[in-house]
C-alpha cells in the first residue's frame, strides 16, 4: 500500500519550539519540516519548489535557455520542434547568451520576489553546453549570492563536471534516467556522441547508462541532492522503472520523478511518428503508487518549459522576453527579503493549521478516502476563481493523512469574460474521479454543470489553507466535528 508523501506521523510530531531571535537551532524556519527529512537536507530543499512539495506553494523557479546543444538523441525529442503553446521539457522559444540570461535573472528577481531557484535545463543539455552554463551561474552568483542553482542533464557528460558543479555550489542536479538495462535503453536512445564519435544501439546505451550511474554516485558522495527524472513509456520501460527506482535509490538519489511520455505525431518525434502512446493518468498514478515505497516521489512536477518563470503551474515567461528587458540592470535585494520574511510567518501558521487538519482526518476510523481538487494561485491557500484556474491540485484525504497526489490541467474557461460552456466539457473530463472542487469563487452556471456531472464545487473554504479546507471538508462529510477553533 502506498503511503502519502506527507505522512501523518511526520506531521503530527510537534516541531522543535522556535527560539527567539536566533538561528542556532535547527528550529529556525523549519517548523514545517517533516520529521522523516534530515535537517541538513531540509535546509537545502525548503525553498526549492521542485524538490519540496511544501515550498512549491511559496517559491518560484526560473529557467534560462542558455543550453541549446545536446550530446544524445532521444526518441521522444525532436530538436526542430518549437512552439510557444507547448509546455514540454526540451521545447523552448527564447535562446539566450549568458550575458542576456544574467540580465533576465536580475530583472525577474526584482519583479518576482518569490524567486528562489535558477535552473538550466536545456533546451539541450546543461552539461553539453558547459561554458554557457558556467558563465551564466558565475555572473548571477556575483549579483544574487543567496539564489539556489540547479541543472538538468542526461548524464553523459556528468562525470567530467562533478568537481566544478560542487565548487560552484550547485546543490541540486536532475538526471534523466529512463533505463538501467542497455537493452531497454537502446529502444529509447538511437545514438549518443561520445569521445569524438557517434555511437548507436547497445554500445550507445551501455556507455550512457554507465556514465549516468557513475555521475549519480559522484554527486551524492559530495552531498549534492540528486533528483532522477524518468519518462514513462508504455511497453518500453514502464515495468522496468521499478528497477530504475531501486538502482537510483541504492546510489543515494533523493527524489524520483516519473513523468508521462508526451507523444503526438505533430511533434515529429520518433515515438510520435511511430504511434508510441503515452500513459493514461491512471497508468501513471498506478506506477507512482507502486514506486512510492522507494525514494520520495514527486507528484507536483509540472514538466516546465526550459524558459519557465514563476510558481510551479504558472509561467510568466512571456512577461520577461528579451525585448522587454532593460539594457542595464541592477539587483535590489529588498523585495525578495521582504517576501522571505512573509513566508517564514505564513509557514509557521500553516504548519499549525495543517496539524489541526490532520487530527480531524485521523479521527475517522474507516478507510474512507476523498479526492479533492483545489484551485490555488499559490501560498498553499484556496485562492483561485474556478473559471480562472489553469490547473487543479489534487489532494487525497484519508485516515493516513492529506497528500498532494497530482494535478489536473484545464483550459481556463472564462478567460474571455463570458462563461463559455463549450469549454466546460474538457474541464469536467479533467476532473474525472474528483469528489469535490474547492475554489475562491464559482458562478452558478459551472456549479450546476459540475453537479450534473456528479462533482461538488464550493467556495465555502475560500482563502483557507488547503490542508485546513480539505480537513474540514473531510470531517464534515464523514460526520465528525472538526477540531478547528
Amino acid at each position: 500500500m502506498s503511503s502519502p508523501i506527507i505522512s501523518l506521523a511526520s506531521l503530527t510530531t510537534s516541531p522543535a519550539p522556535r527560539r527567539k531571535g536566533g538561528c542556532a537551532a535547527t528550529g529556525c524556519g523549519s517548523s514545517t519540516r517533516p520529521a522523516d527529512i534530515d535537517p541538513a537536507v531540509w535546509e537545502m530543499i525548503k525553498d526549492h519548489p521542485c524538490y519540496s512539495e511544501e515550498a512549491h506553494h511559496y517559491f518560484a523557479r526560473m529557467h534560462v535557455a542558455v543550453a541549446p546543444a545536446c550530446n544524445i538523441q532521444c526518441n521522444y525529442c525532436n530538436r526542430k520542434y518549437d512552439c510557444s503553446n507547448e509546455s514540454r521539457p526540451g521545447v523552448v522559444s527564447e535562446r539566450l547568451t549568458p550575458e542576456e540570461a544574467f540580465r533576465k535573472v536580475v530583472a525577474v528577481a526584482a519583479a518576482v520576489p518569490e524567486l528562489s531557484v535558477l535552473g538550466i535545463a536545456g533546451p539541450g543539455d546543461a552539461l553539453a553546453n558547459w561554458k554557457n552554463t558556467r558563465a551564466t551561474f558565475e555572473a548571477v552568483r556575483k549579483a544574487i549570492p543567496d539564489i539556489k542553482f540547479c541543472l538538468s542533464t542526461n548524464g553523459l557528460a556528468l562525470p567530467d563536471h562533478v568537481d566544478e558543479i560542487a565548487d560552484m555550489a550547485i546543490d541540486h542536479v536532475t538526471i534523466t534516467i529512463n533505463a538501467v538495462d542497455p537493452e531497454v535503453g537502446a529502444k529509447i536512445y538511437p545514438w549518443i556522441f561520445y569521445d569524438h564519435k557517434r555511437r548507436t544501439g547497445l554500445e550507445a546505451a551501455t556507455i550512457l547508462l554507465e556514465r549516468q550511474m557513475r555521475g549519480l554516485e559522484m554527486l551524492t558522495a559530495r552531498g549534492i541532492l540528486v533528483k532522477i527524472n524518468s519518462v514513462m513509456i508504455p511497453g518500453i520501460n514502464d515495468d522496468h522503472l521499478a528497477e530504475v527506482n531501486r538502482a537510483v535509490r541504492a546510489r543515494g538519489a533523493f527524489l524520483h520523478n516519473v513523468m508521462p511520455l508526451i507523444s503526438d505525431p505533430a511533434h515529429g518525434t520518433h515515438f510520435g511518428l511511430t504511434g508510441q502512446r503515452g500513459p493514461t493518468p491512471a497508468e501513471l498514478t498506478a506506477l507512482q503508487d507502486r514506486l512510492d515505497g522507494g525514494i520520495k516521489l514527486m507528484r507536483h512536477c509540472r514538466q516546465c518549459r526550459a524558459d519557465a518563470i514563476g510558481l510551479l503551474g504558472e509561467d510568466r515567461g512571456q512577461e520577461f522576453t528579451m525585448e522587454k528587458l532593460p539594457e542595464t540592470v541592477t539587483y535590489d535585494p529588498a523585495p525578495r527579503q521582504a517576501y522571505r520574511d512573509f513566508v517564514a510567518a505564513e509557514r509557521g501558521d500553516r504548519g499549525a493549521a495543517r496539524d489541526d487538519a490532520l487530527r480531524s482526518v485521523e479521527a475517522v476510523a474507516d478507510d474512507v478516502r476523498l479526492l479533492v481538487a483545489v484551485a490555488t494561485k499559490g501560498g498553499a491557500r484556496v485562492n483561485e476563481h474556478f473559471g480562472h484556474a489553469r490547473e487543479f491540485q489534487v489532494f487525497e484525504a484519508g485516515p493516513k493523512g492529506i497528500a498532494l497526489i497530482g494535478h489536473r490541467k484545464v483550459d481556463a474557461y472564462c478567460m474571455g469574460g463570458f462563461g463559455e460552456d463549450a469549454t466546460l466539457g474538457p474541464t469536467i473530463a479533467a476532473l474525472d474521479g474528483i469528489d469535490t472542487v474547492l475554489c475562491a469563487k464559482v458562478g452558478d452556471c459551472p456549479r450546476e454543470a459540475l453537479v450534473a456531472a456528479g462533482i461538488t464545487v464550493t467556495d465555502a473554504y475560500a482563502y483557507d489553507y488547503i490542508e485546513t479546507a480539505v480537513g474540514k471538508l473531510y470531517a464534515e462529510r464523514f460526520g465528525l466535528t472538526a477540531v478547528f477553533a
Binding site: P68, C70, R95, K131, F193, H196, K197
Partner: protein, 64 residues
C-alpha cells in the same frame, strides 16, 4: 574539400561549433556556417567529420 550546413535543416543548436577541431564553424546572422577555407573534414584529427557526427538534425553534408 569541406563540409557545409544546410540552413533549412539547421536548428542553430551550436553543437557542431564546439566540436569542430579547426574552429571552422561560426554563428553568422541567423544560422551556423562552415568556413570552407578552414574546414579540413577533420582529416588527421578524427575518423569522421565531427560536425556531422554530433548534428542532431542531419544538416551537414559534403559541400557540393
Amino acid at each position: 574539400m569541406a563540409m557545409s550546413i544546410n540552413a533549412d535543416d539547421c536548428t542553430a543548436c551550436g553543437a557542431c561549433e564546439s566540436e569542430c577541431p579547426s574552429k571552422a564553424i561560426r554563428f553568422k546572422g541567423a544560422a551556423y556556417v562552415i568556413d570552407p577555407k578552414k574546414c579540413t573534414e577533420c582529416q588527421g584529427t578524427a575518423d569522421a567529420p565531427q560536425c556531422d557526427e554530433v548534428c542532431p538534425s542531419g544538416a551537414i553534408a559534403k559541400a557540393a
